[in-house]
Amino acid sequence: MTSATLQDRQIAGFAALAVVIHILEASVPSPLPGVKPGLANVITLIVLWRHGWVAAAWVAGLRVLVGSLLLGSFMTPTFMLSASGALASIVVLGLTSWVLGTRRPWSPSVYGYALLAAWAHMAAQLWMAWWLFIPHDGLWRLAPVLLMASTVFAAVTGWAAAKVLTWLAQQQERPC
């Protein structure tokens, strides 16, 4: 047995934070199924920025798995939707950060990444819902409404992630 590395501990800590946000959010009633703020993605974005894509993928995966186990929704339709959304957004984040980077002049800032993650999440969920549960083309009529909600919440998560990242950077610069 090898002991946990520092990175393992960091991932576990971030995943725990994300799980807490995920569960708090699940208790907030939603006007439409599939619409929720996705504030747990703030953690994914922060980890992507500070610890790279592999750590972010771990945090997102653990969040969905542990969150569903604690909520009792593991392997239910809710879980399928949530997992497909998380998978799609982490893949999109990975591809974008691989091609465009996070700190180059032409790379998006957290606002851009928040938008990409939210849209990927929603598109995958919608497709999954159509493919597995409601194979009726009328479902696509929900797309504009759901994606509009994603866009609004992407602005919120992007702003929150930017705030936290700024704060963390300031803490690091300050000598203890």
Partner: protein, 132 residues
């Protein structure tokens, strides 16, 4: 506050997202159009097809007896029906593309299709959502 800086790629992405949203709304949220044809289904099989532009009344015989339908001013309704609950009669008029009226006891369904204003449009006459 360099983390809060919005970069050119952000503007590009957000612009694309907003344009995409508008396009989606434009494509998927078109108002229902006035239907052009009425198809009468008996036991799920089409038995009669009439244009909604001719005002008329006619009878369709189902297992319970004759249901009387009325077409007037591009709208259609069940006028009389031999069924017990008269749900079909109380439903009233239907005139939009994709709408559906049905009398389940008498096995009659009315499907409205086509677009009275533009009949060349792609996918015309297809039902994309039914709601009661």
């Amino acid at each position: 506050m360099r983390w809060l800086a919005v970069k050119p790629m952000d503007l590009l992405l957000w612009g694309a997202a907003l344009a995409g949203l508008l396009a989606l709304y434009a494509c998927l949220w078109r108002p229902a159009a006035q239907a052009a044809t009425l198809t009468v289904l008996l036991d799920n099989k089409p038995v009669k097809e009439v244009g909604l532009n001719q005002n008329q009344r006619f009878l369709v015989s189902g297992p319970l007896g004759d249901s009387e339908l009325q077409i007037e001013g591009g709208k259609v309704r069940f006028l009389h029906s031999p069924c017990r609950n008269q749900v079909c009669v109380h439903h009233g008029w239907a005139s939009h593309n994709g709408e559906l009226l049905a009398c389940l006891p008498n096995r009659i369904a009315l499907v409205l299709s086509g677009d009275a204003e533009s009949t060349h449009e792609a996918g015309h006459g297809e039902i994309d959502a039914i709601n009661f």
